[in-house]
Amino acid sequence: MSIIIPGDQLPVDETTLNSKKLTVGPSIYVDPLLDNQMTISNAGIFTHKEKKTKQLITVESSSKNYIPAVGDLIVGTVLGGFGEFFKVSLSNYKPPAILSYMAFENATKKNRPNLKTGSLVYARISAYDPNIDVELECFNPTTGKAEGFGELTGGTVVEVDLGFARYLMFNENNPVLEHLSKKCQFEIAIGVNGKVWIKGGDLVTTLACCQYIEQAQRLASGELEQLLKKLWKQHNI
């Protein structure tokens, strides 16, 4: 694991970078004023992936500050309906995103989705530009089917660091959920905006799952089993 912070040098030398087509991920700032010089702007884990014709450098950082990107799956809170769309909050104190009434399965002008203020939705970011509103959709635009998107009923939400949310999302066999799934049944929707929706069979299970996810992000994978045992004992499940 190579951790770098601002002020560090890129751990890859220039000749390698120039050898293949390079894609630069977030947290590395390419300064247009300084001859596209690359500098490290955030602290995180550096990765350099090389393929036959191209290469990728990124810095994986974790924080509570979510910056939207097209294609991200998020858990959002509906702030209200306004004319033709809902406003949805992705994270507190950030400008809300827009979810059109038409961006649902089977939605027509007549058949409007019914979402109350304060309800949760699982949605995909369909358009993003820092200068305009973020747009969301609750269906797969190619098939027109919901495919798991839409309102999340019941359950509750745990807020986790963004890095952890991505880790849960993109590592299919991650030990965190693996362990939990052996213990109980649950539904989960992971938003890369740091919100994880969980619903267990009953209230106590949901609560235990919440506490587990919340505490798991501060533990090494070896300690997970112990945490689970402790929580389940505590709640007498």
Binding site: G7, S41, N42, S63, N65, N92, Y93, Y167, A220
Partner: protein, 230 residues
């Protein structure tokens, strides 16, 4: 004096740090970037709101002065165009301040108070760096701040809390593991041009030393954030 610091001390803030240096203890909490109120909104870049609160009493012009200095300086470091129409709020709470007899103040302490400004700025800037890294806000370069003092005998010391002829605050930016440029300087007292340059030169060296310490802290905090990978 040794810098003592912790990262991620607050829960509500997006990033935070607690730094003790030269008898001053500062907590920095950063909120944001978040949606700007209309009067703060800047179309292409982020609006920085710096709030400093003193350990004792209500904020005065002294705090306003420091807020302004730090705001101007941070504006040159944060990559603002990544956060258009948003606000980044930098809160600095001074918790402890060790002058001769901190728990007792009287009106005659005013002159000492102006000298303290440099010491407090010094601590605030270092604290702000750690908090920015913790908050994952993009910056052009790393930075840190040091204070140098010319004693009445004319020798140059780092920090130096006792009476001094002049005091120099030096902030260098660090990029690609090298001292990049002088970002900010502030001086009080009487000194010659030559002495100033000497202090700056010393600053360059000390800056790298301090940076390695801050780096160590930052790396440790990143490790902690990704502990679940281990």
């Amino acid at each position: 004096m040794e810098l003592d610091a912790k990262i991620g001390v607050l829960n509500n803030a997006g990033g935070s740090s607690e730094v003790s240096l030269n008898g001053i203890k500062v907590v920095c909490g950063i909120n944001g970037p978040m949606e700007a109120r209309p009067r703060q909104e800047l179309p292409t870049t982020c609006y920085l709101e710096v709030i400093i609160r003193p350990a004792i009493g209500n904020p005065t012009v002294r705090e306003k002065y420091m807020e302004d200095k730090i705001k101007n300086f941070l504006n040159s470091v944060i990559i603002g165009n990544l956060y258009p129409r948003q606000v980044i709020q930098v809160n600095l709470q001074i918790l402890e301040k060790k002058n001769n007899n901190s728990s007792y103040t009287s009106d005659s302490d005013e002159s000492a108070a102006t000298e303290d400004v440099l010491l407090e700025l010094n601590c605030c800037i270092n604290s702000a760096f750690l908090a920015l890294v913790d908050a994952n806000i993009s910056i052009y370069k790393a930075f840190n701040s040091n204070i140098f003092t010319y004693t009445h005998k004319g020798s140059l010391v780092k920090d130096g809390l006792s009476e001094a002829k002049s005091r120099h605050l030096v902030v260098y930016g660090i990029k690609n593991n090298k001292v990049d440029e002088l970002l900010y300087g502030e001086n009080v007292g009487r000194f010659s041009e030559k002495k100033l340059f000497m202090a700056l030169e010393r600053g360059e060296k000390e800056s790298m030393i301090l940076h390695s310490k801050l780096k160590e802290l930052s790396v440790e905090s990143v490790k902690q954030k990704f502990v679940y990978l281990s």
